[in-house]
């Protein structure tokens, strides 16, 4: 394959697909938005892509729980295909609702070797949907999406973003496996309560990767900061090149180029 090809998943209620496609295009990928029904009809189409992104939104209205119905659909129609996709060395990114879906399918929601979901994402401690900007500290060495040491600034917009675990042991294992991708911090890199940690997430976790480092899920929206003017107070900034969200998409495309093309 000559071209980096990314699939942006669509489904009822997914609503960040267009800007996610744009971010991938900016990073140099050929990005296509595809409805989940088409993939269920023809799962072989996944072979055409090296990147799959499950974007943000409210898949199926987040009925029952955020991401739950789409996760259920993927489990019953495409679970093996998704695992093959990952095992083939390809990469998967879940943003906001996409992260919730990846957790609730079990792809990011359990430890290696476990059958049952041990990690979940639930209601913010504030009890409210919140749109605000947060700082993220990268903390995994294996996650291929991360620019090591680079703290990034991105918006969150969710009502259910609190990562919780079945027990403390799960978190310990995740740390040992280097699966904690991003943590919420303040401008100077320190942890803190709300609003630094906007949803009360355990251990300030904002994003998790799988054991391969090639599957990332995160609550903040990198696709909403790919141009300078999307910064919430760009009118007072000097550095007009900032677009923190691009690092995630650039690294994804770079990884594919280095490993597939």
């Amino acid at each position: 394959m000559e071209q980096v090809r990314a699939l942006v998943l669509r489904a009822a209620g997914i609503n960040c697909d267009v800007e996610t496609q744009y971010a991938l295009q900016l990073a140099g990928a050929e990005a296509q938005r595809v409805h989940v029904n088409r993939i269920i009809e023809n799962p072989a189409m996944l072979d055409l892509f090296q990147i799959m992104v499950i974007p943000g939104g409210f898949s199926y209205g987040d009925d029952v729980a955020a991401g739950k119905i789409l996760a259920n659909q993927l489990i019953y129609h495409l679970y093996d295909r998704l695992n093959e996709f990952i095992e083939a060395g390809k990469i998967v990114l879940g943003i906001c609702n996409g992260f919730q879906v990846l957790v609730k399918t079990g792809i990011l929601g359990k430890l290696n070797g476990s059958d049952e979901q041990q990690i979940t994402i639930t209601y913010n401690d504030s009890g409210k949907f919140e749109d605000r900007w947060v700082y993220l500290e990268p903390s995994s060495k294996k996650c291929i999406f991360i620019e090591p040491g680079q703290r990034i600034y991105l918006p969150i917009a969710h009502g259910e973003g609190k990562v919780v675990f079945e027990n403390d042991g799960v978190l310990e294992r995740l740390k040992t496996d280097d699966r904690v991708a991003f943590r919420y911090v303040d401008e100077d890199g320190s942890f803190g309560p709300f609003p630094v940690n906007p949803n009360g997430s355990t251990d300030s976790i904002a994003g998790l990767c799988d054991s391969t480092g090639r599957v990332l899920g995160l609550m903040p929206h990198p696709e909403r900061f790919v141009r300078f003017v999307q910064h919430p107070h760009w009118t007072r900034l000097e550095d007009k090149s900032r677009a923190d969200g691009m690092t995630i998409f650039n690294n994804a495309v770079k990884y594919v180029k280095e490993n597939f093309i």
């Binding site: 009822a12 209620g13 029904n37 409210f58 987040d62 009925d63 739950k68 259920n72 107070h233 007072r236």
Partner: protein, 959 residues
């Protein structure tokens, strides 16, 4: 078929779906004996599956094993020391239940089918409560309109199964009735048609020699309702204005429309014709804007009313031309002040705090789910909105310029797409055309509609694909009036025939009339050429959107309805659309005899400034704004909040709808009913001035601003009330002409008065919302209000006059005053143009307009948004001769004033540009974080830290 019951509880120690919120709400009711509340989600599922599969449903689908437990069957009342009360809240049968639909889909993904799914909320309250308290709690936790409450551990909810409908053709004998009998028919059927209208209908049926059917009367009532045809605003009016007689043939045509016509802007593409007004965006695309009100439904069911308000207004751009893609929402609310005890609230009215929270939640949930950023809004508080809160929902959409017009043709098929039809929303259009009373809650509960945003989102996704391929010839939304108004309007010039039994229903039992007039949400109608049927059906089916052919457009100019072959309605389109008798009304305006209070000058005004920042109208609305996703679609480049810590107010929002173009759209609004208490004419001009100022402040071109009107008035059958509306309409004409800003769309909502059980009436103040949409050529040049750097100079442009009438300064002193701000129509536009020029030339570091609270409040907001102090001196303030009072200089709300921050080395260029308009340097930006304003003679009359100012501004609505 087995009925399964599932209960899902949060595990102890996890944050559930809001048990603690419920506790707070109960305390707010004055019930302190409830010590603990447990809540559970309940699912009732009918299906042929075994226990093992039921366990899978519970464990894998309904409950999240990490933070929830489940119970199959009814969980026993927990044993405990305190008395426990169990209540379960179910939806009334027939009310849309989106979660149930999703659960059905998910169970079928798991390989089994189920018959029905219903959901409920269960609360277990621990603690002694008496019956009266329980009633109060139930009223708080549930909504009579849409929900039923089951108390105790054994009671079962109502059966979900409804009997099928058997055709029973109803005719109403009216041709022989006298006037009072006709009125009685209208009243009995909730038609809201008056005697003259009923007589006109009687004459029509006499002329065709038969009696009408029920659905014929209902169709006429709907088409002729105030809500649908705006008969008051289109009537001829004899206006007595302080003794001067003025005649209007058609009030709207002679004021609002006339201004647009006279301005004749070549960038207006479609005005007052379609569901939204359309203007040019760039060479290839157009943008459209519509603002609707959803007041009556929001009074009864704040959450559902507001959600369907936003859901409804989204279908306006979607139903404009051949369909636009919504790109930004605006939401403006008027509520009573929320700090009231429950005893102060008359029967039939919900507490204003509950209304505020419910309305915000409704807009949040629908707007966020649709993936449309809610970027602009305002909330205006006044106790006269107690019985009638106002909910204005607006939307801007974008579409290719060659898709701006659609027209159904004879032979096209009538296709209904999206949601199914149910009993929800019956009589919405007619009901919202009358006053609310204390009995409306029960009598008109069926008028409330329930939304399902995902159904609408799916419909939007597929419509845009079908539009792209040119597969339909016309589209419109089913709004007020449902299929009746959608099909009736599309076929007005042609004729249409509909077979009602083909309309997909949510459940059995609907009569042909109910099908026709239901205002069930998320439905649109498209006209499809038969040869495109297969292609378009495929697009909808591919994404699980229901699309059904229900009839065709004909050429007989008749509306014909059939139910299983029986004709139930045949009306002449001409009579339906043009048969409404023309009204002539009288209106009176008498200038009020008001006095200006004499307020002594004070030593300093710190306290006044802090109080104004802490009034409901001025205080930060961050609590609301953060709950809206204002960044989805990635186009929000000036967000509602900004500044160094992202929590200062911005004047207007700017969205950049196309990734490959730097063009943007600025969105702002103006509303100030206090001015209308003095004179609605000046209120209107101030509203237009404010809306224009807002968008100009961020960088919109003043020669590319289009505006919208939304009139919300009380009972316009009263000549004085109508007179105040006429004053406002006159203001609309004068303002639009002076600013060169055409009105492109508008809407009115009258009869916003509430009749209490004791007969007293609460009427809203005259309320006009002006919304503005301005084109920004290059979003990289946008400016915001936050101060940028110490040492920069501060200027004010525009003149400050002794105009405290209706101001917030007077408000905190319980005064109204007489000197309402009077927009200088000669200067206002020139000033706006110069401000734009300065911004476009890069001379402006920050810019903010003076509005509620005047100069002092505007400077305070700029300072704390930027994290800098200001040292100002009123010596440099351009002011009128009668404005010597320092309080007036600080807090006057004179129009057309802007505060501009300029870097010192750009002073010369800026000053040169401002020649010819009043402007003066009033201060400079300081590192020291205090707002200091001197009297002009060296005395400090304001000296407060920006932290205190910000705290005063933020603390009130930190909910």
């Amino acid at each position: 078929m087995k009925q399964w019951r599932f209960e899902v509880f949060s595990k102890p120690g996890t944050s559930g779906t809001g048990g603690s919120d419920v506790g707070d709400e109960i305390k707010e009711l004055g019930v302190y004996t409830v010590q603990e509340i447990q809540s559970a989600r309940v699912f009732l599922i009918e299906g042929d599956f075994d226990e093992a599969f039921a366990k899978r449903i519970a464990g894998e689908l309904l409950a999240d094993r990490v933070c929830e437990d489940f119970h199959i069957g009814r969980s026993a009342a927990p044993a405990g020391l305190a008395k426990a009360t169990i209540i379960e809240i179910h939806l009334k049968s027939g009310v849309t239940d989106p979660v149930a639909q999703s659960v059905m889909t998910a169970i079928s993904d798991m390989g089994k089918d189920c018959q029905t799914v219903r959901t409920a909320r269960k609360y277990i309250l621990f603690g002694e409560i008496n019956d009266k308290q329980l009633k109060k709690i139930i009223r708080r936790l549930s909504n009579d309109c849409i929900e039923v409450v089951v108390i105790g551990s054994d009671a079962e909810p109502p059966s979900p199964h409804l009997a099928p409908y058997e055709l029973e053709l109803k005719t109403i004998d009216i041709t022989k009735l006298n006037e009072s009998q006709l009125e009685e028919v209208s009243k009995k059927m909730d038609l809201f048609l008056n005697a003259v209208e009923m007589k006109t209908i009687q004459d029509y049926f006499k002329s065709i020699g038969r009696e009408p059917t029920d659905v014929e009367l209902e169709s006429l009532a709907q088409t002729w309702s105030e809500h649908c045809v705006h008969k008051t605003l289109k009537s001829s009016i004899d206006f007595d204005c302080d003794g001067e007689k003025i005649h209007f043939d058609n009030l709207m045509k002679d004021t609002v429309f006339r201004a647009t016509k006279e301005l004749n802007k070549d960038w207006c593409i479609s005005v007052f014709e379609d569901n939204a007004g359309v203007i040019e965006f760039d060479e290839t695309d157009a943008v459209c804007f519509k603002v609707e009100t959803h007041n009556h439904p929001s009074a009864l069911d704040p959450y559902g009313g507001a959600a369907t308000g936003i859901g409804g207004v989204l279908r306006d751009p979607m139903g404009t031309g051949l369909g636009a893609k919504p790109i930004a929402n605006t939401d403006i609310f008027c509520f009573a002040e929320p700090d009231k005890s429950f005893d102060e609230i008359p029967k039939g009215i919900l507490h204003p705090k509950r209304i505020a929270q419910g309305v915000v939640a409704g807009v949040r949930d629908y707007g966020n789910r649709m993936g449309i950023p809610t970027v602009n809004g305002a909330i205006f508080f006044d106790d006269r909105y107690l019985g009638n809160p106002l909910v204005f929902c607006g939307n801007i959409g974008i579409m290719p310029r060659d898709k701006c017009f659609g027209k159904a043709r004879t032979g096209d098929l009538v296709m209904v797409i999206g949601g199914r039809t149910g009993r929800d929303g019956i009589h919405g259009a007619t009901f919202s055309s009358g006053a609310l009373t204390d009995e409306h809650e029960t009598v008109f509960s069926h008028a409330v509609q329930i939304g399902n945003a995902i159904t609408e989102k799916k419909m939007l996704d597929t419509i845009l694909q079908a539009r792209q391929k040119g597969l339909y010839t016309a589209i419109t939304d089913c709004g007020a009036g449902g299929l009746s108004s959608a099909v009736g309007e599309m076929g007005a010039q042609l004729g249409a025939q509909v077979e009602l039994e083909k309309v997909p229903l949510k459940y059995a039992g609907l009569s042909y009339t109910e099908i026709w007039i239901s205002e069930a949400q998320e439905r649109m109608v498209v006209a499809v050429k038969p040869e495109n049927l297969e292609k378009i059906s495929r697009i909808f089916a591919d994404e699980n959107v229901e699309a059904t052919i229900i009839g065709k457009f004909t050429d007989d100019k008749k509306l014909t309805l059939k139910y299983k072959g029986t004709q139930v309605c045949q009306l002449d389109m001409d009579f339906l659309h043009d048969g409404l008798p023309k009204y002539s009304r009288k209106a009176v305006w008498q200038s009020k005899n008001l006095a200006e209070p004499r307020l002594e000058e004070k030593e300093n005004y710190n306290e006044e400034l802090l109080s104004i920042l802490s009034t409901y109208n001025v205080a930060s609305k961050e609590w609301v704004i953060r709950q809206y996703d204002h960044e989805v679609q990635g186009g929000s480049v000036v967000k509602p909040l900004g500044g160094v810590t992202n929590d200062g107010p911005n004047d207007a929002a700017v969205v950049q709808p196309k990734f490959n173009s730097n063009k943007g759209i600025a969105i702002g609004c103006g509303i100030n009913p206090f001015y209308g208490d003095i004179d609605p004419y000046w209120m209107t001009l101030a509203g237009i001035d404010e809306a224009v100022r807002n968008v100009v402040c961020v960088g919109a071109r003043p020669d590319r601003i289009a505006i919208l009107d939304n009139f919300c008035w009380a009972d316009c059958k009263k000549e004085e009330t109508l007179g105040s509306l006429v004053r406002a309409a006159q203001g609309c004409f004068d303002g639009a002409i002076a600013f060169g800003t055409p009105f492109i769309s508008g809407k009115d909502s009258l009869n916003n008065n509430f009749i209490c059980d004791d007969g007293t009436e609460i009427s809203i103040p005259a309320t006009l919302l002006i919304s503005a949409m301005g084109i920004v050529d290059d979003v990289n040049k946008c400016v915001t209000i936050d101060l940028k750097a110490a040492g920069n100079l501060l200027f004010i442009v525009g003149i400050t006059k002794n105009e405290l009438g209706g101001s917030h300064y007077y408000k905190i002193k319980d005064q109204l005053g007489a000197n309402v701000p009077k927009t200088d129509l000669k200067k206002a536009k020139v000033i706006a143009e110069k401000i734009y020029k300065a911004i476009d030339s890069g001379l402006v570091a920050s810019c903010h307009d003076c509005s509620e609270g005047g100069l002092a409040v505007a400077m305070a907001e700029m300072a704390f948004a930027g994290g800098f102090g200001i040292e100002a001196d009123l010596k440099g303030l351009p002011k009128s001769d009668d404005c010597a009072n320092l309080g007036a200089q600080l807090f006057s709300e004179s129009c057309s004033r802007y505060i501009i921050e300029v870097e010192p080395d750009r002073f010369n260029d800026f000053a040169k540009l401002m020649l010819g308009v009043p402007f003066g340097q009033i201060g400079k930006v300081t590192k020291d974080k205090n707002l200091v304003i001197k009297s002009g003679l060296g005395r400090k009359i304001v000296d407060v830290s920006i932290d205190s100012l910000k705290e005063a501004w933020q603390k009130l609505l930190r909910w």
